[in-house]
Symmetry: C2
Subunit: 472 residues, 2 copies
């Protein structure tokens, strides 16, 4: 199967250019100046006039099952928000299937061709949960990296001193979890079909050193993405000081967890020293601007990170902390938000840089920088074709700026993952979205009462985290 | 004409309730508990099941002709951005007509029923420009307040010392401008048809005291909204110190410009004393979160303003500083953005408060709080019906939270302005949007080269505004 896209606008080395692109099988075969590639009779021809072709975005951090909690959880700081999330987490396997389908569809229809799913898995049904997720992603046809959330410390251990909470059930041991991950990798890691398993320790705050380092060893040995939450909140920053006496980033580095396969979500509270360690280790910072605002976590130092050479990707985060999974929304906010953090506008992110973050930056963050995220010969054909004639992309000014700084919807005309066309004329070709919507409509999770844990924790949290602003 | 909407979810005093709503002529006649209003044979009946009925939002600050500059102007601080905007401002009357149509359509289809257009008007063709705008708004049927931008100081006067720029042409005198405004009011101010003229001095930075006060006198005498830019940037804050030696807000107050008819756009750099003056005067702060980030202006003190009793509205600002005119986007960002400015989450804006800002808050800001922005008997029927069965508003959790914190598109089923139905089954009933898109497609403004003014001003701006961070 060959597809020739003729005279299409695209970004080449950060500049808009009109080119011909030939797709062959699952790969991009060639990229050449417009109207220079010969047309062969067996090729499918696509006229690229008034179209923009970009590598698919990577939704660099999300939690797919939170689709069921969209619109459910109030705006709260992470530590209290989590109590609500735990209380309403779905526990049925088919909800995980449809959660993956919904996350994949929303990501795809907003220009994404790959999802990093830092996935909640049902305790005792971990393999079955991953199986449901894999089936969901395969049904849509999107590329997916599934990193099951694992932790070996109880919830209360993830809070600074004084933020008392019931310890809760003791999670599995580090050794058991590593064994479980080996099983999951053996069963589901399947690069040829675009499904990958990552190791996803929840975050240093809920993981022992043994588990963090064990995940690092697994990532090294099996060439897996290492994905973890890192310093999302001030409480986590404080906890790191209490527990380690050094920065959490330095601690992870000492444990061997930071490599070019590593991506850390949020990093709102990393400082310049942390940025330097992350950059030198070749790791990736995944920025989740909508979630960081919704939970009041803060503004991640994205401009400083990029200036220091740290790779940055963009994520939506789960639908319980960003009640949408729209990549274009996350990219717009992740672009303009940082203008208020640096007076010198020459440091501000351009639309071209934003696209690079969300494509090549995202691909590197999931350890797939050599396969996806770049429009170049030899790369997998993970591509999205935008219709520049759509009203949301008018008038005819700078199409990339309209895409990134506007609020376009339904502008996606075609999309391919590994050369397979998933979207044609704006319509998804794979799953039946009516069935998805039927399930979302009829299987809703009830809004919980104010969780007991919240009421119990609120006073402690308030006492510790709000009465001491400025001492960190 | 009577319309009975039965058993529809709505907000009553900040709480979701299911009610019956009867519209009669251009007004809301009654609001009563669900299934209690009698059905009369001549009424049109609408089943409110799975629907949410809200007062229409007010797009509290925009510049309609910037539709043509959408996607055109780079991200720059206001003072340099303006040089680009001036260089590419449309100068043909039909562009103003279509600019108004486009702004009205985008506002309406994202839940807005009223626009405050702080309108650029072609020098020497001011009445003709306003006429084109009025025709555009009437064609769509939206309520509109048109406040022509007027100033009697040259552009360079609006910058702090050292930010040298060519003075440019001398604008008209204050007396001429006031005379012009009286003419425009006499010709176009027509409350019965939903078209209002406001007085819109560009901002203190480009207006003499005589013009600012003259506008205040006009607003008092003719009961007009007084709308002006205020302390959008640090440069304006510095200029006020240089020119007045007191805060710009205090200065405007001393001139008699701050009344319950006054709304000020941005207020990014107002301090607590300013908030107090604005609140006590009964004025309105119009928050434009997307624009404030895109131009790097800063974070307006919205939470502190609300806590001090200052009325706050939400605006999109013009399409040259927010490359979309989507009210739901502006409301979402204006809600979650401020969570990072206050550690105490009990101060964070709820979806209910966000809706109140964008409806009643916006209506008060355009001096129409007694006519629109509230769903209550006797108010004008400016209402929007959302389809809660739309995939963007699933699963069935908190519909208001999904509307405000999600990224819904095409969720609007019906909309009425002054009792006239403008949208039915998601389709606009009034203007031909195909014609609008044809004009946007074929009349595009070319991207300007880097404006001469920009090159000239950049070094001065950099020298004055960036080498002295922290001295204000």
């Amino acid at each position: 199967m060959q597809t020739l896209i003729q005279s299409v606008l695209t970004l080449q080395n950060g500049t808009l250019e009109t080119v011909d692109v030939l797709l062959m099988g699952d790969r991009i075969h060639s990229v050449a100046p417009a109207r220079t590639l010969p047309v062969a009779p067996h090729q499918r021809l696509i006229d690229g006039t008034d179209r923009l072709l970009l590598p698919g975005f990577v939704n660099g951090h999300t939690h797919s099952s939170q689709v069921w909690q969209r619109g459910l959880i109030p705006q709260l700081p992470l530590e209290l928000w989590l109590a609500h999330v735990f209380d309403s987490t779905p526990q049925q396997l088919d909800q995980f299937y449809w959660g993956a389908v919904s996350t994949a569809v929303d990501t795809l229809m907003s220009g994404g061709t790959c999802v990093m799913d830092h996935a909640y898995v049902i305790p005792g049904q971990e393999l079955e949960t991953v199986d449901a997720l894999v089936r969901g992603y395969k049904a849509v046809g999107i590329r997916a990296v599934i990193a099951p959330l694992i932790q070996d410390l109880p919830f209360a251990s993830g809070l600074p001193k004084g933020c008392l909470l019931p310890q809760g059930a003791s999670p599995r041991s580090s050794a058991e979890l590593i064994g479980l991950m080996e099983e999951i990798v053996a069963e589901f890691h399947d690069p040829a079909s675009g499904i990958y398993i990552g190791v996803g320790p929840t975050g240093f705050h809920r993981c022992s050193d043994e588990l963090l380092a064990g995940c690092g060893e697994l990532s090294d040995r099996l060439d897996l993405c290492y994905h973890t939450h890192l310093l999302e909140t001030r409480a986590q920053h404080r906890l790191a000081q209490e527990r380690y006496g050094i920065s959490a980033v330095q601690h992870l580095h000492n444990l061997g967890c930071l490599t070019p396969r590593t991506s850390v979500a949020h990093g709102v509270w990393i400082d310049e020293g942390d940025i330097d360690i992350l950059a030198r280790s070749g790791s990736t910072l995944v920025h989740n601007p909508v979630s960081n605002l919704r939970l009041g976590s803060g503004l991640a130092p994205v401009l400083k990170s990029l200036q220091a050479g740290l790779n940055v990707a963009i994520g939506c985060d789960g639908a319980a902390s960003n009640d949408a999974q729209n990549m274009l929304e996350a990219i717009k906010l992740g672009t303009i938000l940082h203008n208020v953090t640096d007076e010198d506008y020459e440091h501000w992110l351009t639309p071209e840089q934003a696209v690079a973050m969300a494509t090549a930056g995202g691909a590197k963050g999931v350890n797939l920088g050599d396969r996806t995220g770049t429009l170049a010969p030899g790369m997998d054909a993970d591509l999205v074709l935008y219709n520049l004639d759509h009203p949301d992309l008018l008038p005819r000014t700078n199409p990339l700026q309209l895409l990134v700084l506007g609020r376009p919807t339904d502008v996606l005309e075609s999309a391919w993952v590994q050369g397979r066309q998933l979207v044609h004329q704006g319509q998804l070709l794979t799953v039946d979205t009516a069935a998805l919507h039927h399930h979302l409509r009829h299987q809703s999770v009830a809004a919980p009462d104010l969780p007991i844990q919240h009421r119990w924790a609120e006073a402690h949290y308030r006492n510790v985290m709000l009465r001491s602003v400025g001492d960190l």
